[in-house]
């Protein structure tokens, strides 16, 4: 157990150290979603009110949690891309011949990537008042915990892909084809309640919808809120946690298959 902690811990630390030495990555992962949010939110808040929006919320405010998840998605996914090259011609070669189990490698990588994604998204929380959300301390802590769960799940999705594919070009294609739509269809952009029936079903089957719903509700913790078609908080948390566990299992299995040991 002690050895597993040492091994996973060192892989976590390596991710953090590398990230801190690449300033442009730190800034980029945070700034890009921020700019999107400001532009889209500011542009659409006056004229745009999708069907099914909870009362008393304008579109700028509605988009805010969605862009927290976008920060998580971008950072988590980009943190895992290096796995592709790293295992053939880099640091991971040495890890693969070390006495470490494949799940332990994935735990270290996933905790590393999740931490990198989590920190800028927590900084994003500071902007809540600009969105019109008055965060209580309890709400902030609950939201931060929920963000950690989402960050872990998204990192594991990235790892499952990164251990499978052979080139980083493939990664970008998958990112645009699968991951961005998953985010779009998670309730980040429009409420489930107002969507056409067929789309509602797709959104309900999308696991990220539940992480999104849980985060949305934790931000207003303690206030009475209209659910607007969202699953209850307990249900959303349960599914989000189950999703994180499932994605980890998938990533660990993919890593084991890719290395054939």
């Amino acid at each position: 157990m002690n050895e597993i902690a040492l091994q996973a811990g060192t892989l976590w630390l390596r991710e953090i150290t590398r990230f801190m030495r690449q300033r442009s990555r730190v800034i980029g992962s945070f700034l890009q979603p921020l700019v999107f949010w400001l532009l889209l939110g500011a542009g659409l808040r006056a004229s745009f009110k999708p069907a099914g929006m909870p009362a008393g919320i304008d579109y700028f405010e509605y988009l805010y949690p969605g862009f927290i998840v976008l920060v998580l998605l971008f950072t988590a996914i980009f943190a895992t891309i290096s796995t592709v090259e790293d295992r053939r011609e880099g640091f991971l070669q040495g890890v693969l011949v070390a006495p470490i189990s494949r799940p332990t490698i994935v735990i270290g990588q996933a905790l590393g990537g999740a931490t990198l994604a989590w920190v800028p998204s927590v900084i994003f929380l500071v902007l809540a008042p600009f969105a019109g959300i008055h965060l209580s301390l309890g709400a902030a802590i609950a939201a931060a915990l929920m963000m950690a769960v989402i960050a872990f799940a998204l990192t594991c999705i990235g790892l499952a892909i990164a251990w499978k594919i052979e080139s980083t070009q493939g990664f970008h294609a998958i990112m645009n084809l699968i991951l961005v739509p998953i985010w779009l269809l998670s309730g980040a952009f429009w409420p489930i309640a107002g969507a056409p029936a067929a789309l509602q079903w797709i959104m309900r089957l999308n696991p990220l919808t539940y992480g999104m719903a849980a985060l949305r509700q934790t931000l207003y913790l303690g206030e009475t809120q209209a659910l607007g078609g969202l699953p209850s908080l307990a249900c959303a948390i349960a599914i989000a946690v189950a999703f994180a566990i499932a994605t980890f299992a998938l990533a660990a299995r993919t890593a084991r298959r890719a290395t054939a040991f």
């Binding site: 040492l6 011609e89 040495g94 011949v97 070390a98």
Partner: protein
Amino acid sequence: MTASTAIPAHARATNESAEPAVAASDLRFRYGGRTAIDGVSFTIGRGEFFGLLGPNGGGKTTLFKIISTLVPPQDGAARILGFDLRRDTIALRRRIGVVFQHPSVDGKLTVSENLAHHGRLYGIGGARLRQRSAAILERLGLSDRAGDLAETLSGGLKRRVELATALLHNPELLVLDEPSTGLDPAARRDFLNYLAHLRETAGVTIVLTTHYMEEAERCDRIGVLHQGRLVAIAPPAELKARVGGDIVAINSRDPETLRRKIAERMRVDAALVDGVLRVERPRGHDFVRDVVDAFGDEIESVTFGKPTLEDVFVHLTGHRFFAGVGGAREDGDV
């Protein structure tokens, strides 16, 4: 230095000395439709300095990947240091040090950070880690570079850092893939000298792949790989003795005609290898005189010498060692 600190005494007693460092039988590996390793069997003794020699694409990197536990063989079996390669992989990995052709140190980390990460992956932490890192950096003359980012080091120093990480956990077997690629001759000589020293002082078994003849010359024994098969396995001197005496190479505008004439008039079979006539003769200088006397007009140049390992390769396979290397294929990974 002893290699025993990380390994319980009872485990050593059952595995040590009784079994060879590597015992492989009928290993096979294919990439899609292409066979990289085609039924290879060999044994490497404890404390041996063993070289796998072959041109790029001959299968040596695949064999390296199997011995270093990076990929399991698709067929065949291997026991390494007394452990089954497939069943006891984790226990085996604790005892192997691996140096890759492409750097496995992280350029964004300092030299000592790289060592620390490596140590922790092998379950070494705290004071023991600091002590071992300091010792290995000292031994490899890297102490004053400990705080430098690995990406800022020269090629030779980087390779030494690779070696430092591979030796940090006191392995009994060191496996290296083309360790001198990218090193200048002086750095290459230093590196080989250190490996030889390591074998002498710590009894570490060393297995390296190479396509450099001078590197192969340094080995106790070499295995010659050609198209996925082991065509010979012997000490370098013994391999050279298999070539029948001296090597005479003749360049001619029309080598095929000349080859026929030499066969008719002198009763000597010359091999035509990549446009050059090649003759193995016990008394090469006599043959040079005779052939120049007889066909002086048709000969552009004649070279004559003692057989090198390259001649051994031609003798064994009928192919030139570097034939096709200039082609477009980048197959360092095969």
